[in-house]
Every structure is written in structure tokens, then in C-alpha cells.
């Protein structure tokens, strides 16, 4: 029998044990705490425990399971809320009350519920690993395709008839070429630290449309792409993750609350259950799964939560869905790595983080991608990871290492947040490397003017940035009129376009065609105002017309479904400018 020898926080050591394998899942002690083997030597096997070790004694038994830490994949994942090691928090609440106790075991998915299964194979068919053999309507939005698991392929020997089954029922039997019979149920297990296989990676060419103007227009992310969102506290990281999770055009949302606030997760749960998806008119929760490992839950499970989330995302991708993963916050995950590394007395690299931090970050973000799945569907996993840099200093290791592996960088800015300019994405520090990959799509789907207008916006903002340097030194009044106009148009862009009100009915989500119309209107205003200045009229007269502020309020005043109203604004601009004497 293997016994606990040493205990230090979540790290437990076993002496003289040789039969464990690395990354094996183990049960520790009489409470059967879940743990994972992280290092083995002749003298000691080191285990990190995913639950609180308070009360654990040396000499208690450790049971090996023979499999790595895995998640249970099957119908019932969506609309659910799990902790970092996929225990359903609803069921734990029913079973144990308000507080989570160590050693709680509850099956991840509901084993009693009967699902209506429709089969796609018949007796005698040949099936391959990853092929869809049946489906169930998991929610009214999502058809859950049951895929042949774990490298099984062969001939279908028996198939149940369409009807209601529980997830653990054997519904199909497959005989492989060696004559072994495999029993398929609706669930399969998959190790969380191993990426699920795909046929091929495809180039990224379609944007993940978020309805957030600053993202879709200036710094778009591709489906299958990765984005890092660093920002000090209070700059709106979580708010932004929520906005994207609510409005982006992915089929499935995996929201990982990693080491964050409990109240926030409750809010997400409440809000997503109430909110209606504008495209399908169904509650958003029907396409969402929440992984909640709040900051006061055990730290090792925080490390696991990221992998649990991404594995679930890959599973839905394999069904041919576009999945968006929100990881809030990856810094807490990195800190969990640091904490465990410290307890293992490993040699630290930068700021106490372990030397393998960059490779872990890379492994995580590389699980994103636009792929051809094993069953020849196209699916994608996009990852949007929030980063909480210490002291809002972007030179710290997590931000820097994330920057190396993501292609979108949305830097949140404290100054903008202080002025309540949300989304507080700083347009000078942020970038997206996807714009070239996506240009074809924008040209075809939105219109060729879109990227053109975008470029003009970027130029104007850069000019403003330069002019502001001067203004900071000598004030605005000494600038010539045409530069004052540039500043004013830049203000219209900042306040009327980039700034977006998440609490406003019309403004919280803006479709791309309205984004384009808004840009065109602002650029038209610039063009006409320039012309008026050229005619020798003073800029102060232009300001008096109030037309700039009218254009700023277009975002509220024109509803998303009445874009014809834009025509009135062109007239309004013409009239206002003509009236200047």
C-alpha cells in the first residue's frame, strides 16, 4: 500500500513508490482527495492535490487509478457549471449545501437523464475514430453529435433503435479488425492535458464577429485565433470577456473563471440564463458551459480548470462547431503554476515563475485553431485569455510570454478606464495580426470600403496622438483650424465610435453593416467639414452647429435594425454646414 509521507499545502509526497506514472490521477487519503502525479524519483513520488489537504495525515492510503486526469465528455455539458476538475457545482450544492467540502464526489454528467438519441449508423457499417454515429438534441440550440471515441474503428455489430437512453447505456457495439468488441455509450473520457486529434489545420480566414466596434473594426480576431487581453484591475477585462461571450458569433462558449471572484461567476450564470441570443431567440446559456474555479478554491484545481475548459472546447469543435473559449484570468493560472512550483522547491526563473511558464502558455494557446476534424467537418477553437499583470505593468512575465504566442493583443488602459471610456482598449498599444488573413472576408461580406475606412480611422487616431503631444505643451488654441478639425473628428471617433456602452440596448452589440455605415458617416463629416474650412470659414463656426455631437450620438439614436435612418444624417450634415455663413 502506498502511504502519504510528507504534506506541504497541496503537495503530497509518497516514499519508495514505483508503480505510479506521470500525470496519473490518484485518490489521496481517507477522504479520497483527487490528485495528480507530477514527478517521480526512486525515493519520492510527488502528487499535487486538487482539494484542501487540511486534516490529511501521514500514513493515509494513496490509490492509483491508472488513467491521467480526464474529463467526461457527453450530453449534459452545456448549460452546466463545473469546478476546475469538472465536478458539477449544482449537484454539489444539492448534495452538500452552500460550501464545498473536500473529497466530494459527484459524477460530472447527469446519469439519470434520458436523452432522445437518433442514430446515424446501421449494423454492418464501417465506423472510424471521430465519426458521428448518433446525435441528441442537447439544448434547443445545439445538436450534440456522438463521436466514435478513443481510436476505435471497425464494423458496427449492434445498434439500438432510436429512442430514449441514459448516457451510460451501451447503444452501439463495434468490432475492430482484431475481433475485439467495443461498447459505445454516449460518454467518453479524454485526458485534459492532451490535445484531441484533428485531421488538418486550416488557414484562418473568417473573423469571430463580436459586435464590439473597437475589436471588429480595429483589432479583429479570426475564428480559430488567439487574443490576449491584459489590463490592471478595474480596466474591464471581465466585462469585455462577458460582452464577447454574449454577442460573438461562435456556436459554443466555454467560459473559464480561473481564480476569479465568486460573485462574478454567479452573475455570469444569472445573466446568461436570462439573456436571449438575438440570432436564435434562445437563452444564451444554451450554448454556454461555465468552468468556475474561484480564487478561494484549491489552487491545483485552478491549474486544471484551464485544461478542462479547453478539452471541452475541442470536443465540441470535433462536432463541427465554432467554439470560443474565454479564460479569465490566465495570470491566476500562471500563479497557480508558480505556487506549486514553489512548493516543489523548483529553481524559479523570472519573478518566481517556473522556467517552464512560456512552454505551458504556448501549449495552451496552440490548442486554438481552425481545423478540419476527423469526420471532415470544419470547426474552430478561438481563445481569448485575460491577463492580470502585476501593477498593470505589461513587462511582467505572463504578459510578455503571452504576447509571443497570441496574434491579437488588446491592451486595456487605466487612463481610459478612469474616464469610463469602455471598452478601454488602447488603440496605440493594441494590434491584430489577423487583418491580412481576414481582408478577403471583409471585402466580400461587408464591402470593400470597410478596410479602407478602417485604415483612415487608424491614420486619424495616429495623427491625433501626435497632435496631442503638442496640445499638452501649448494648448489647443494655437493650432491651425485644419488641425483642430482633425482633433474634433478624432474625438468623434473616440467617443462616438470606439467607446461603446455595454448597458445600452442598441449599443451593446453592433452588427458589421452598422459599423461600416457609422464609419462612412464620420468620414463624410470630415470630408465636408474640410471643404467648409477650405472655403475660409472659421472652425469655431463649425463647432457651433453641434453636428459633431449629433454624429457622436448616432450609436444610440439609430437602432440596429433601422439603418435607413443614416440617410437623414447625411442631410443633416449638409444642412448644418450649408447654414454656416
Amino acid at each position: 500500500m502506498n502511504k502519504v509521507y510528507a504534506i506541504n499545502g497541496p503537495v503530497v509526497k509518497v516514499k519508495n513508490a514505483t508503480e505510479f506514472t506521470i500525470m496519473e490521477m490518484v485518490y489521496v487519503g481517507k477522504d479520497r482527495l483527487l490528485g495528480e502525479v507530477i514527478s517521480i524519483s526512486e525515493d519520492f513520488t510527488v502528487i499535487q492535490v486538487y482539494e484542501s489537504t487540511v486534516g490529511l495525515k501521514p500514513g493515509e492510503e494513496i490509490i492509483a487509478t491508472g488513467e491521467p486526469i480526464s474529463v467526461t465528455l457527453g450530453p449534459g455539458i452545456l448549460t452546466n457549471i463545473f469546478d476546475g476538475i469538472q465536478r458539477p457545482l449544482n449537484k454539489i450544492y444539492e448534495k452538500e449545501g452552500s460550501f464545498i467540502k473536500a473529497g466530494t464526489t459527484v459524477p460530472a454528467l447527469n446519469q439519470e437523464k434520458e436523452w432522445e438519441v437518433t442514430f446515424k449508423v446501421k449494423k454492418g457499417d464501417h465506423v472510424e475514430f471521430g465519426q458521428e454515429f448518433a446525435y441528441v438534441e442537447e439544448t434547443s440550440l445545439i445538436k450534440h453529435k456522438l463521436l466514435v471515441p478513443n481510436n476505435i474503428s471497425g464494423e458496427v455489430k449492434t445498434v439500438k433503435s432510436d429512442g430514449k437512453y441514459k448516457i451510460e447505456d451501451v447503444i452501439v457495439k463495434v468490432e475492430d479488425k482484431y475481433g475485439n468488441l467495443h461498447e459505445l455509450t454516449m460518454v467518453q473520457r479524454w485526458p485534459i492535458k492532451k490535445p484531441r486529434p484533428i485531421k488538418d489545420r486550416l488557414p484562418l480566414s473568417i473573423p469571430l464577429v463580436t459586435g464590439q466596434r473597437v475589436i471588429d473594426t480595429l483589432f479583429p480576431i479570426a475564428k480559430g485565433g488567439t487574443a490576449g487581453v491584459p489590463g490592471g484591475f478595474g480596466t474591464g477585462k471581465t466585462m469585455m470577456q462577458h460582452q464577447i461571450a454574449k454577442w460573438c458569433d461562435a456556436d459554443i462558449i466555454v467560459y473559464i473563471g480561473c481564480g476569479e471572484r465568486g460573485n462574478e461567476m454567479t452573475q455570469t450564470l444569472d445573466e446568461f440564463s436570462e439573456l436571449i441570443d438575438p440570432k436564435s431567440n434562445k437563452p444564451l446559456i444554451e450554448r454556454t458551459v461555465l468552468i468556475a474555479n474561484t480564487s478561494n478554491m484549491p489552487v491545483a484545481a485552478r491549474e486544471a480548470s484551464i485544461y478542462t475548459g479547453i478539452t471541452i472546447a475541442e470536443y465540441y469543435r470535433d462536432m463541427g462547431y465554432h467554439v470560443a473559449v474565454m479564460a479569465d484570468s490566465t495570470s491566476r493560472w500562471a500563479e497557480a503554476l508558480r505556487e506549486i512550483s514553489g512548493r516543489l522547491e523548483e529553481m524559479p526563473a523570472e519573478e518566481g515563475f517556473p522556467a517552464y511558464l512560456p512552454s505551458r502558455i504556448a501549449q495552451f494557446y496552440e490548442r486554438a485553431g481552425y481545423t478540419q476534424t476527423l469526420n471532415n467537418n470544419n470547426g474552430s477553437v478561438s481563445i481569448i485569455g485575460a491577463i492580470s499583470p502585476q501593477g498593470a505593468d505589461f513587462s511582467e512575465p505572463v504578459t510578455q510570454n503571452t504576447k509571443r504566442f497570441v496574434r491579437c493583443f488588446w491592451a486595456l488602459d487605466k487612463e481610459l478606464a478612469y474616464a469610463r471610456h469602455y471598452a478601454a482598449i488602447n488603440w496605440n498599444l493594441s494590434y491584430s495580426e489577423y487583418i491580412n488573413d481576414l481582408s478577403k472576408w471583409y471585402n466580400k461580406q461587408v464591402g470593400v470600403e470597410f478596410l479602407d475606412a478602417r485604415q483612415k480611422f487608424i491614420k486619424l487616431l495616429a495623427e491625433e496622438n501626435k497632435l496631442m503631444e503638442i496640445v499638452k505643451l501649448i494648448g489647443k488654441d494655437v493650432l491651425p483650424d485644419y488641425q483642430k478639425l482633425t482633433l474634433e473628428i478624432a474625438r468623434v471617433i473616440r467617443v462616438g465610435y470606439l467607446q461603446q456602452n455595454a448597458f445600452h440596448k442598441e449599443d451593446t452589440f453592433v452588427p458589421l453593416d452598422k459599423q461600416l455605415k457609422m464609419m462612412n458617416l464620420i468620414l463624410y463629416l470630415q470630408k465636408e467639414a474640410k471643404r467648409v474650412l477650405k472655403e475660409g470659414k472659421a472652425f469655431s463656426l463649425l463647432l457651433k452647429t453641434n453636428i459633431f455631437d449629433k454624429v457622436i450620438k448616432v450609436k444610440y439614436d439609430i437602432p440596429n435594425d433601422q439603418l435607413v435612418l443614416f440617410d437623414n444624417y447625411y442631410k443633416m450634415i449638409d444642412e448644418a454646414l450649408h447654414a454656416i455663413k
Binding site: P58, G391, R420, D549, K553
Partner: protein, 479 residues
């Protein structure tokens, strides 16, 4: 099976080490008896085979390798709880120090608590009317929230905390019960007495449970002080349906105690020598605020921390800000101007306010007003930094108006002294201030709300603006 062990293997800082120990569990409580009859307490912090490290709360002075007897209790640290803790004073270990004898105990609770299941939480929505405009109007405190005060030495954070406690109308309905749990960590006797006196003046002393670990008390006890206090708060809130306000001061002293403990354990330090798990450790305290479905009570936390050197990027305020739901930041410049409470509204934030204000909670225009005040006051800062370069006279007319607005905003809105304002007073005052600015500058509010609240005449009367040029300037953009 009370096993006793005589003698130690090693003493190092607050830690003692024992050899050949069997059958003890991680984080178990121990009792240490000295030859001279003293009793101290400790906790198992590491087990390595039969070698055990024990953290002694009261310190290891006078301990030698020979003069001690150690007794293991067989369980993690628990304290006795009942409603009778209200009106009492305890030390950092939860032992009464007010000479009123033992507290009648109805339940023993683990001071570390357990993680609250997010599913069991109720999302906090009811605001607490603190009577302080900068808080009610701009960083609204919500019942069940954790909202720290970031301060610095010499600033009136204690006054503000007391004012909040005194003015907070914790119960909208009369029959709702409320209580205050006060945890002092490393503060001076004077500060503790100040709080005690203030609670007395407010007539709530019988509703306060005080946990005191003062500046000259053992530092390791400090690590347990907030845990004892929060255990009491959770018990009162979740088992007795009481609305509990927890005031914890000073979190910086707590973190320093944690650092001392960590370094004596020989752990690898993180930033500024604080342990790498400082975030998790603070989270295990702050996350104990909230409301749960199964009870009518709530735990609201107001931790106070003094920022070393007024540096908000220091690890303690930084990590705190990442855990808490916003922060109230005190500003030294305002303090020096004689403004009380000196709340720097721009870096202050309440994350939960968005769902706890507006119609049905405060008033429908609250959100718009708040956004506009923040945006306009941020512009004031720009104008001021420009003025410091080119001089105030050279500013444009609009910038001058902002300077004016900034002055009134600080003098009337932020600076309110010790009197309490209702939420209506606060909101109306906000609109009067915005009315000093030209209407087209108010780009965060929509037309309809402006129509209702924008009133120049009233602003001129209210602020008693006599200066003819200013009045003329104010009225000019009306056409």
C-alpha cells in the same frame, strides 16, 4: 488519545520542529506547555515523514529544546460561536479579552471556512446608503460586496470607515438585523480605541464583535485574526440571518505578518519578498463576503489597507484590487487641500454598482450621471495638467469651464464633511454640477435625461455664482 511530546528538535523564528511524531494531521492545532506554566498555541504547517513543523502563534521567545511539552488536539483550528459574540472583545485567536468570561458556545467552526459554491451565491444587488456622496453616487457599496479603502499613512481612512458604519442604513426594513465585525491587525491601541468609542457613540456597541491583534501583539496571531473575525461574520450572516458589515484594518500589517511567516518557513519569495501565494491567501479572506441562497443575512467587507508609499502598484493593493469588487482610493492631494473625505474618485470603482443602481434601486438617471461625472472630471485632470504647463490664463474657454467645474465638484460633491446625504441629494447635486458645463460637452448622457436634469439657472443659484463674466459665459451657449 491526547498524545504528548516532550522536547523539540529545532526552533527557527516562529517555527518549531518535532521529530518522531505519529498520527498528526495537516493544519492540526497544537498546545505548547512551557515549564513555567505558560500555554501557547500553534498549528502544523508542514509534515515530512515523522518530522513536523509547527507555527507558534504567540512567538517562540523563552522556548528551548527541553522545556516544552506539546499536545496535539486532533483537529484543525476551530473557534466556538454563538450570537453572544456580539458586544464582546476578543484577541486574534478568538479568546475573550474583555474580562467578561467565556462566551457561551453553540457551535464550533473551522476558522479557515470552506469555499462558497458559486451556485449557492445570490448576486448582490441591494445598495447600502452610506450617506457619502462620492461613494453612493460614484462607487456605490452593495450589500454582500467587498470594497476596500486604499489609503496611506496619515490619511483619514479610519474616520471614513467609522462614518460609513455610522451612516450606513444597513436595514431598509426595520426588522432586518445587522451587526458589525471588527478585525484590527497590527494597528495601534489608539486606533482600536477610536473605533470602539465610535461604535459606542453610534449606539451599536452591543452589535459589534471585535477581534483585536494590536501592533504589539504576536505577529503570527495576526494571520488568524481576520479568519476568526470572518468565521464569526459567516456564522452570524448565514446561520442567524444577520446583515454583517466587516471592517478589517490594516490589511498591510496582515500581509507583512504573512511575509514574515513565509520567510521563516524558508519559502521562495515572490515580488517584494511576499510569498507567491499571497493572492490565494488574500482571496481566501475576501471571498468570504457575499450572500447565499439559504439565508437572509449577508457579509459585506470593508477592508482598509495603507498603501506603502502611496503606491497603488505595490503587491498588496495590487493583488487586493484583483480580488475585491472595486476599491475606494483616498487621495493625498485632496487631503492636503483640506477636503474630507478625500476620495480620489477616478481610480475608485465599484464593480457591483452597475446592477444595484438605477430605477428600482436608486434612481433611473444614476448610471448616466455617474458616467458623465467620471468623464467630465477626467477632462478636468487633462485641463489641469495643461494649465500647469501653459498657465491657467492661456487655457481655452472650454478648458476654463472644466477647471471651474473641477473646483466646484471637489468643494461641493467630494468635500461633504461628516454630514450624511440621501441618495436623492447626491444625485441632484451631481446634475447641478454638470449644469455648469456646456450642454454639448455632456456626451455620455442621452438627450432625454439631459432635458430633465440640466438646469443652468439652478446651478448658478445653488453655487451662488456672483462673478458676472462666469454667468455670462455660462449663459452664452444657450442659443
Amino acid at each position: 488519545m491526547d498524545l504528548q511530546y516532550i522536547g523539540l528538535k529545532e526552533i527557527n523564528g516562529p517555527l518549531i520542529f518535532l521529530e518522531n511524531v505519529k498520527g498528526i494531521s495537516f493544519e492540526e492545532m497544537v498546545e505548547i506547555k512551557l515549564d513555567n506554566g505558560q500555554t501557547r498555541h500553534g498549528r502544523v504547517v508542514e509534515i515530512n515523514g515523522d518530522l513536523v513543523a509547527i507555527l507558534v502563534f504567540e512567538g517562540t521567545h523563552n522556548l528551548s529544546l527541553r522545556n516544552t511539552t506539546i499536545k496535539f488536539s486532533g483537529h484543525a483550528m476551530k473557534i466556538g460561536m454563538s450570537e453572544n459574540v456580539l458586544g464582546r472583545v476578543f484577541n486574534g485567536l478568538g479568546e475573550p479579552i474583555d474580562n467578561l468570561g467565556h462566551v457561551f458556545v453553540s457551535k464550533y467552526l473551522d476558522i479557515n471556512g470552506s469555499a462558497l459554491n458559486p451556485v449557492a451565491r445570490v448576486y448582490p444587488r441591494n445598495y447600502i446608503n452610506t450617506g457619502v456622496s462620492s461613494i453612493d453616487g460614484l462607487t456605490t457599496l452593495i450589500r454582500g460586496q467587498k470594497l476596500p479603502i486604499f489609503s496611506g499613512s496619515g490619511m483619514p481612512h479610519n474616520d471614513l470607515a467609522v462614518q460609513i458604519v455610522q451612516q450606513a442604513k444597513l436595514s431598509d426594513e426595520k426588522d432586518e438585523k445587522f451587526a458589525i465585525v471588527f478585525a484590527a491587525m497590527g494597528v495601534t491601541n489608539d486606533v482600536a480605541n477610536y473605533f470602539k468609542k465610535s461604535f459606542e457613540e453610534a449606539g451599536v456597541l452591543d452589535k459589534v464583535a471585535m477581534y483585536l491583534n494590536l501592533a504589539d501583539d504576536p505577529i503570527i496571531e495576526r494571520i488568524l485574526t481576520p479568519r476568526c473575525a470572518l468565521t464569526a461574520a459567516e456564522y452570524l450572516a448565514y446561520e442567524k440571518d444577520i446583515h454583517v458589515l466587516v471592517v478589517m484594518t490594516d490589511m498591510t500589517a496582515y500581509c507583512e505578518a504573512l511575509r514574515e511567516f513565509s520567510s521563516s518557513k524558508g519559502e521562495i519569495p515572490g515580488r517584494k519578498g511576499y510569498p507567491g501565494y499571497l493572492y490565494s491567501d488574500l482571496a481566501s479572506l475576501f471571498e468570504r463576503a457575499g450572500i447565499i441562497k439559504d439565508s437572509d443575512g449577508s457579509v459585506t467587507q470593508i477592508p482598509i489597507l495603507s498603501m506603502p508609499n502611496d503606491d497603488i502598484t505595490h503587491p498588496i493593493p495590487d493583488l487586493t484590487g484583483y480580488i475585491t469588487e472595486g476599491q475606494i482610493v483616498l487621495d493625498r492631494e485632496l487631503h492636503q487641500k483640506g477636503i474630507y473625505p478625500p476620495i480620489g474618485v477616478l481610480p475608485s470603482l465599484s464593480r457591483l454598482m452597475k446592477d444595484g443602481i438605477g430605477s428600482g434601486y436608486t434612481r433611473d438617471d444614476h448610471q448616466s450621471l455617474m458616467n458623465q461625472l467620471f468623464a467630465s472630471y477626467a477632462r478636468v485632470m487633462d485641463a489641469r495638467s495643461l494649465a500647469s504647463v501653459i498657465g491657467e490664463d492661456e487655457l481655452s474657454i472650454v478648458d476654463k469651464k472644466y477647471m471651474n467645474f473641477g473646483k466646484y465638484f471637489e468643494e461641493y460633491f467630494i468635500s461633504q464633511g461628516h454630514k450624511s446625504r440621501t441618495i436623492t441629494e447626491t444625485l441632484d447635486l451631481g446634475w447641478k454640477l454638470l449644469s455648469i458645463l456646456p450642454k454639448q460637452e455632456l456626451d455620455r448622457t442621452d438627450e432625454m435625461i439631459l432635458e430633465r436634469f440640466y438646469d443652468k439657472e439652478e446651478a448658478i443659484n445653488y453655487f451662488n455664482i456672483k462673478d458676472k463674466t462666469i454667468i455670462k459665459e455660462l449663459k452664452k451657449e444657450d442659443n
